[in-house]
Amino acid sequence: MTTDRSTMLEPSPGGTATKDPTRRFSWQWLQGFAVRHAMVVVMLFVVAFFLYKSARFGTLENMTTILIAAAPFALIALGQTLVILTGGIDLSVGSVIAASAMAAAYVAKASDGNLLLTVLVAVLVGLAAGAINGFVVSRMNVPPFIATLGMLTLASGVAYVIGGGAPINGLPANFGAIANTEVLGLKIPVLLMILAIVGLAIIMKRTSYGMRVYAVGGNRLAAEIAGVKSKRVLFSVYTISGVLAGVSGLMLASRVISGAPNLGQGYELDAIAAVVIGGASLMGGRGTIWGTAIGLLLIQTLNNGLDLLIVPSYWQDVIKGVLIVLAVAIDVWAAKRRTS
């Protein structure tokens, strides 16, 4: 990304200011909004399209379905956001989901439904994978792409080893309670998703930790000269990403009350897409949690809406692929308009 040096030096004469400041909702205001929040506008169009095409799309029940489907995916997309903000990438999250799901299923079965132990093991698997990623990237200076590619293969292998190459079924009934219990009228995964979004948004915007993540991604040398321990920051984002993937795996396994070694396969790509759709730069330093939230809702809405319209699944992939690139192209175009 290049920065435009001519901006700010010259106030653009005329043009953007609304003629009547008291009339807030004018065409120009709308244009300005559309340019500033291009992705929200894209989202509105997608939603309007599905509302028009499908009677079921707008029901409360369907909205809940979208949220429940979004939850496990949201957790890894949020972790991915932090990693991408530092200029890195975490390709391993899909496999970590599988490993933690299998480990959780195995422990649940072996311990005959000890939920506390099950949850602990799932989180620990994610933590371990994330910490190893973080160590390899920050201390051994292995490029994130390679380090997490290695973990992708490793964690996937572990998932198959745990089940001896097969899924783990016949789990104690209470295993399903983890993802299906309702608290405050919301299923636990949805609640966790909301907590994670709000919590991370606050952390990234309102704490010094968040600021340092941006700084390391924006210019690592500058951050270090300013006293930021960039290695620690890097270690932490991969660890967080790993833990969130661990929790995500637990939720997915609990939802279907079984562990499958191919669970979460390819999720990392959807997560990266959500982050990029949310306006983050893969070079690091730019992006927001809210952006990712919009991005992942957009992807989930597409999945859901295309299902409702009974579009064959291969075609869904084609449409999704096109829309993802289109959405980012629109955002890049709008970003250019924003700065000039």
Binding site: G14, T207, R212, G285
Partner: protein, 521 residues
Amino acid sequence: MHTTHTPEAVATAAIECHGIRMSFGGIPVLKGISLVLEPGTVTALAGENGAGKSTLMKIASGQYKPDEGTVEVRSEHLHAGDIQAAHRLGVAIVPQELASIPEMTVYENLFVGRELRSPVGLLNRRAMMRQAREFLKPFGLEIDPAARMGSLPVGIRQIIEIVKATSRGAKVLLLDEPTSAIAEQEVERLYSVVRSLRDQGVAMLFTTHKMEEIRAMADRVIVLRDGNLVEDKPLDQLSDDDIVEAMIGRELEDMFPEIGVPKDEVALTVQDLVIGHGTEPVSFSVRRGEILGLAGLVGAGRTELMESIFGMRHPAAGSVAVGGRKVALGNPAAAIASKIALVPEDRKGAGAVLSMSVLDNASLPRIKSFSNAGWINNRKRSGSIGDIMKSMNLKSRGLGQSMETLSGGNQQKVVFGRWLTGPVDVLLLDEPTRGVDVGARSEIYRIIVDLAEQGMAVVMASSDMPEILSLSHRALVMRGLTVAGELSKTELLESSAQDKIFRLASGLEASTKKETENNDD
């Protein structure tokens, strides 16, 4: 200056380096350097490009681990290669290549690493903004602390970097070419910043390639040459010639060569070019053999004008023609095909691909002329580039050395020299000697004059006043993305020229637009 050389004073030295040795890939860069900085003093670190100045500063600030030698900060041993430790001990560095975070705001840049927090532990952005404003005020910077760093001119960012270092209570401040990005008129602001920091007892070490700056700021001068410390004396015991001689190891002849007589044939015609939003159009022409100077403050639009001519940005209106033939706008490839060449100001961002070798960088713009059917003819390429780099006196470990490990001034020689492998009618130079040492600078001047003599039309943007005054046949002064006035050679030779340029650049003098138009046909 006001330090006394009693034993106690030595004991309280701000920073001491002893026997620093450092080599890269077996090639020694520093061969046993020792120096002591005392509180409240300003020391200039002079030396040619590649002499090891930046390397020494990186060692003193804990970025590099020397092969041998120690660094002590106020009698405490600095653990080598530990930036944080240096930071804790109050050693701050403002690196040669800007170390700001463009995506973050000014106040975030100032406070990152030591953020202000509310009692609950959340960021206190309001307090940071308020304090940021207070930090900036004494430096005469009336900018919005919430502005994005990347949107500010380089010169302002540079000063913010200094503010950042000192607002953290640094006791030792290492400034690596602090003025290289600042317009001459704004250097005054830096001088006063440095003076007030000296009065507060900060020990400063700075590098520069300009004698005026050494005279204006330094108490003491240290000169490095080929990795050795060859001079260390108070400023008042040294003449300018002494310093230059110590740097290059020989006497320097005239800095500026005689400029030739321009031919009649017009090479570049710029007609009604609008480079900003609704700014006044710019029109001028440059003849073959003519050197047109472009003066102005940072942000005046010199870079924008050059980039518009070269097709890197699309002007709102107007036309550019070379030898009477229109050039497609907004298309650098078309500009190159029309024999326009640009040496950009920001060598890190636009000038060079840092991860690539000298050879690759130098052959990039004309890679086609070194290849047959897509296959690169390496012998032809190395031969031709090697000759040019030799003529530019490039200091490198061969053409295979990667650009990022080259010293700043030598990087500039590569991005300059790479155009000389093919035909050029219009040469656009944006700050051609920024960060280039005196010896190399006089070489570059000679090259510019030679090229003009061979028939190129040269447009040279510069913040270096002597360069504009002595090297150009004519100078345009820019302000607010348009031309504010023009000076002819006779006007440039008058003693009031510098003052006139400054007044035009800062808007104190009304535009002399008419003259410009008259000169155009």
